[in-house]
C-alpha cells in the first residue's frame, strides 16, 4: 500500500486509487462533484483542486485536480494550501451563480451534496448581481421529479444513466450556460435503473416523486437495515418511515450484491406497505374455526415469508403436513436447483458476475427477473475495458480515457434465449433455447478463468437447469447462479416442504402463509386460515384471517438466490401493532419462543444448515457501548409534539424484542457493525456521499455447503 502525504501527514492508501478517493476514504474534507466511486473520474467540475508538490522542499507546488491524480508512493499534496482553497471557493461560486438557492422547498435539502460542499468551501456571500438563467422542467414519469434550475452540470446523471445503465433516453443537451439534462421530450424514463439518479445527482435536479408526495426531511425518517423483497437477489436497502408510513427506499451499500445501486422495482415498489392492514385479534380472543388437532391441518408455506415464519408453520403442522403451493413443475424445478447446489455449492454473487470473464445466461431475461444482475453484466463489460486500458497505463478510475481507449464489445456475454432482451446489444454469442450447438461453446467455457453460469426458473424449463449443471460439471472453476421466483425461495426450499400437488386428502383444512393461492390449489383445500399483512381477495374467503406485520414492521431472515442468509429489521411499529407471523403461529401452537433468537435457536438445532448465520447474526441483546442502536437521527423533530393531539404525555418508545435497534433517537449513533447500519452520516456530510468515508460492507452468511455423501 502506497503512502502519500496530505498537508504533511502520511496516509496509507489503496493501490491504484486517485488522490480524491484516497482523501475522502480517510475522512478528509475535500469537496468534489463529478467523481463517484462507481463512476470514476472525469475531472469536469474542478471542485476537487489540491496543491501538489515535487518533494518536501517544494513549497510552491502546482495545482492539480485530485480526482485525476494517481495516489503514488511518496507523492505530496495540500488541501489547505491557500491557492487550492481560493480556487475551490471560486469554483463553487461559479456553480452557485445560477442555482436557485431554494433549499427550503427542495426535496434534496438536508441531504444535499451541493449544500454540504458549499458549506465546506465557505461560500456564504453572493456577489453575482445579474439574472439567473432558468429552464423548463420535464415530466419524467411517475417516479422521478425534474427541477433543472438546480443543476451544476457535473454530468453524473448521464454518466450513470447512459454509460453505466445503458439507458438511451436521458442526455445532456446544448452546451455551456445552457447545458440541460433530460429527455428529447416529456415522458417516463425508460431505464429500469432510473431511480439511482436520485442518489447519483448531487443536487435536487432528480428527486424521488413518490417520496415527494408524502415528503419528510431525511433527519425525520426512521430507518432500519432491510432487504428488498421484490426478487431473489436480496439487494440491501434502507426504507424510511415517518408517522406510520413508509415514505421511500434508499440504497444500502453491499459490495457483494447491489453495491451503490438499486433497481426501480426495489426502490419504488414499496407503497403496498401502506395499504389497509388486515386487522388481527389476540389468540385468546378468537374462536379457532378449524380442527383443534393441528396435526390434522396442513400448512401452506410461502417463499415471500421469512424463514422464521415458514419454520414456525412447519413446527405447528409437522414436517408431514408442510406444503409448498407452487405448481408441481415449479416445485420440482426448485428441488432440482437445490439438489444441484448441494453438489456444487459455490454460487455466484452479483459481484462475482461483475468480475467474471465469461457470463453465460441460460434462458433468463435478467432485466425483468433479476434486474441488478443485468446491471452487473453491464458493469462487467466496463471492467473489461478498464483491464484493457490498464495495459496502456490508463488508471481504472480515469473514466473518459478508459471509454475512449476501448470501444470493442468484450467477448463475455453468451446467451441462450429466443426472445429479445434488453441485453441483446451486449451479447457476444447467442443460441436458441434448443441449444443444439452448445458443444461449440464448451472450449470457451473451459478456457475461462472465472465464468458464471446463470440460469433460473422463469421459463420453467428443466432442460435449461440440467444444461447449467452439465456445463458446471465440465468447468469446475465455474460458479452457478440461479434466479429464483421470490425473495426467500431458497430459504423455503431448504426447509424441505412437500408439494401441494401431491396432497392425498383433498378438502383438508389448511393454514396458509401464502397470500396468492391459485384456483387449483384452492380447489384442494377446505376451510383455511390465512396469515397475511393486508386485506385481499383471499383474506375475505378465509375462515379466519390474521393480520401480521409486513416486512417493514418485523425482523426476519431471508435467503437469497446464492444461499446467502440476510436479516431485515423492522423499520417501524404501527400504532395498532400487529404481531409477526411467526408470533401468531407460536401462539396457535403454544410454543414458548419469546423472541426471534429463541426461535432461531430451535431452527438451527433442527436445520444445522442455518446455524452459521444464527451464530453470526446480531442477537437482540447485542449492544454497542451498552446502548441499543438508534433507528432515528440525533435531530429527529417533533418527538414530544407529534402526539399531543392524542396525549400531552410523551409516549415511551416501544422495546424491540427481536433486534438490538431502538425505535428512538436515543441510542448509539457512531460507527457500528455494517449489518446494523441503515443511514450514513458524518459531520459535514449529510448526503449519501458520507458513505465514501465509511468502510461499510454488510455481508450476510453464505449457507450452502457440499452435501457429504
Amino acid at each position: 500500500m502506497p503512502t502519500i502525504f496530505i498537508d504533511n501527514k502520511p496516509y496509507e492508501v489503496k493501490e491504484g486509487q486517485n488522490v480524491l478517493h484516497a482523501a475522502v476514504s480517510h475522512g478528509l474534507n475535500l469537496p468534489y462533484f463529478c467523481w463517484h466511486p462507481a463512476l470514476g473520474s472525469v475531472g469536469s467540475c474542478r471542485q476537487c483542486a489540491v496543491q501538489c508538490f515535487k518533494d518536501e522542499n517544494d513549497t510552491q507546488g502546482r495545482m492539480v485536480m485530485s480526482c485525476m491524480t494517481p495516489a503514488t508512493e511518496g507523492s505530496r499534496f495540500s488541501i489547505e494550501h491557500p491557492n487550492a482553497k481560493s480556487f475551490r471557493a471560486d469554483v463553487i461560486e461559479w456553480m452557485m451563480i445560477n442555482h436557485p438557492h431554494d433549499c427550503p422547498v427542495c426535496d434534496e435539502g438536508g441531504e444535499c451534496h451541493l449544500q454540504d460542499m458549499t458549506v465546506m468551501t465557505g461560500h456564504n456571500k453572493r456577489r453575482y448581481r445579474f439574472k439567473k438563467r432558468t429552464f423548463k422542467n420535464q415530466n419524467l414519469g411517475p417516479n422521478i421529479h425534474h427541477e433543472m434550475n438546480r443543476c451544476i452540470t457535473c454530468y453524473r446523471c448521464v454518466r450513470f444513466y447512459r454509460d453505466v445503465a445503458g439507458g438511451e433516453d436521458l442526455h445532456a443537451f446544448s452546451s455551456a450556460d445552457n447545458a440541460y439534462f433530460g429527455r428529447f421530450e416529456d415522458g417516463a424514463l425508460e431505464s429500469e435503473f432510473s431511480g439511482n439518479l436520485v442518489e447519483v445527482c448531487p443536487t435536487g435536479v432528480f428527486t424521488d416523486k413518490i417520496f415527494r408526495a408524502s415528503y419528510t426531511r431525511k433527519w425525520d425518517l426512521q430507518t432500519a437495515p432491510s432487504i428488498c423483497q421484490q426478487c431473489s437477489l436480496g439487494c440491501n436497502m434502507s426504507p424510511g418511515e415517518r408517522l406510520g408510513k413508509i415514505r421511500r427506499i434508499q440504497n444500502r451499500f453491499n459490495p457483494d450484491i447491489n453495491g451503490y445501486f438499486l433497481c426501480d422495482k426495489g426502490r419504488f415498489g414499496h407503497q403496498w406497505v401502506n395499504n389497509t392492514p388486515l386487522p388481527t385479534k389476540p389468540i385468546s380472543e378468537i374462536t379457532w374455526p378449524l380442527n383443534d388437532d393441528k396435526s390434522q391441518v396442513i400448512g401452506i408455506a410461502s417463499p415471500k415469508a421469512s424463514l422464521e415464519a415458514n419454520y414456525a408453520l412447519r413446527k405447528l403442522v409437522g414436517a408431514e403436513n408442510f406444503y409448498d403451493a407452487q405448481p408441481k413443475g415449479d416445485y420440482l424445478l426448485a428441488e432440482r436447483v437445490l439438489e444441484i447446489l448441494e453438489q456444487y455449492p459455490e454460487t455466484a454473487s452479483v459481484e462475482d458476475v461483475r468480475q467474471a470473464d465469461l457470463v453465460l445466461v441460460l434462458g433468463e431475461d435478467l432485466t425483468k427477473t433479476a434486474p441488478m444482475l443485468a446491471l452487473a453484466i453491464r458493469q462487467n463489460l466496463y471492467r473489461h475495458w478498464q483491464e484493457k486500458a490498464d495495459k496502456s497505463k490508463i488508471p481504472a478510475w480515469d473514466d473518459l480515457a478508459v471509454r475512449n481507449a476501448e470501444h470493442e464489445l468484450p467477448d463475455v456475454l453468451y446467451m441462450v434465449h429466443n426472445a429479445p432482451t434488453k441485453l441483446d446489444g451486449l451479447v457476444s454469442q447467442r443460441m436458441s433455447l434448443d441449444f443444439e450447438q452448445i458443444s461449440d461453446w464448451i472450449p470457451r467455457i473451459r478456457a475461462a478463468k472465472n465464468p458464471v453460469i446463470i440460469a433460473g426458473t422463469s421459463l420453467k424449463s428443466r432442460p435449461l437447469i440440467d444444461l447449467s449443471k452439465e456445463l458446471r460439471a465440465l468447468a469446475p472453476q465455474a460458479k452457478l447462479c440461479y434466479v429464483l421466483p421470490e425473495v426467500n425461495s431458497m430459504g423455503l426450499a431448504l426447509l424441505k416442504p412437500k408439494s401441494l400437488s401431491d396432497l392425498k386428502s383433498p378438502g383438508v383444512e389448511a393454514i396458509s402463509l401464502e397470500p396468492s393461492l391459485k384456483s387449483d390449489v384452492m380447489a384442494k383445500v377446505g376451510d383455511f386460515a390465512l396469515i397475511d399483512a393486508f386485506e385481499s381477495e383471499l383474506s375475505k374467503r378465509a375462515a379466519i384471517a390474521f393480520g401480521c406485520a409486513s416486512f417493514a414492521e418485523s425482523t426476519g431472515t431471508v435467503i437469497n438466490n446464492e444461499g446467502r442468509a440476510q436479516r431485515y429489521y423492522s423499520v417501524f411499529e404501527r400504532e395498532n401493532k400487529r404481531p409477526e407471523s411467526w408470533r401468531i403461529l407460536r401462539d396457535l401452537g403454544g410454543f414458548s419462543w419469546q423472541n426471534i433468537d429463541e426461535l432461531c435457536g430451535d431452527m438451527g438445532r433442527e436445520f444445522p444448515v442455518f446455524e452459521p448465520f444464527f451464530a453470526k447474526a446480531h442477537h437482540a441483546d447485542f449492544r454497542v457501548h451498552g446502548e441499543r442502536i438508534s433507528r432515528q437521527t440525533l435531530v429527529a423533530s417533533g418527538r414530544t409534539a407529534v402526539n399531543t393531539h392524542l396525549s400531552m404525555h410523551e409516549p415511551t418508545p416501544r422495546v424491540d424484542q427481536d433486534s438490538p435497534l431502538a425505535y428512538s433517537m436515543e441510542g448509539y449513533h457512531g460507527d457500528m457493525p455494517p449489518d446494523l447500519a441503515s443511514s450514513y452520516w458524518r459531520p459535514g456530510w449529510n448526503s449519501v456521499q458520507a458513505l465514501n468515508a465509511l468502510s461499510h460492507a454488510p455481508s450476510g452468511v453464505k449457507l450452502l455447503r457440499r452435501r457429504s455423501v
Partner: protein, 152 residues
Amino acid sequence: MLSAEEKQEIEHELTKFPIRKSACLEALMIIQKHRDYVSDDGLKDVADYLGMSATELDGIATFYNLIYRKPVGKKVIRICDSVSCFIMGYEQIRSKIQEELGIKLGETTPDQEFTLLPTPCLGTCDKAPALMINDELHRNLNPNNVVQILRK
C-alpha cells in the same frame, strides 16, 4: 419521413464511416439543407434511420450552434461578439441591426426574412467589427454600412 434525395445523400455519407451513428452530424446538415432547420420530426427521422435514440441525437444536435432546432429566416445574421469586435463597436452595430429589424438576439423577423444570432470570433479581427449573413462575410462595419447591407 426522409425524402429519397435526403436518404441518398445520407447514404453517401454513411460510406465514409465504420459506424452508422458516426454520420449523424452530416445527416443533420443534410436535412437542414433541405428543410432550412431540423424540426422534432426531422430529428426523429434521422435518429430512426441511423438506429439511435432521438434523445441521443438531440444531445448532439443541440450542442452545435449551426444546427438550427427552430425555424430560422431566409437570411441568418451571425454577428461576432468576441473581443476585437467588441472593442471595435459590436454593441452599436448590434443595436443598429436590432433597431432596423425590430428583433432581439435569437429572434426571427415576422416576415421570416432575417434571424439574428451571436457568434464567437470569425477570424477576421483585423477588419473588425464583422458579421456573416448566411455564407457571406461582411467586415469593417459601421452603423451606416450595416443598414445598407441589410437593405440590399
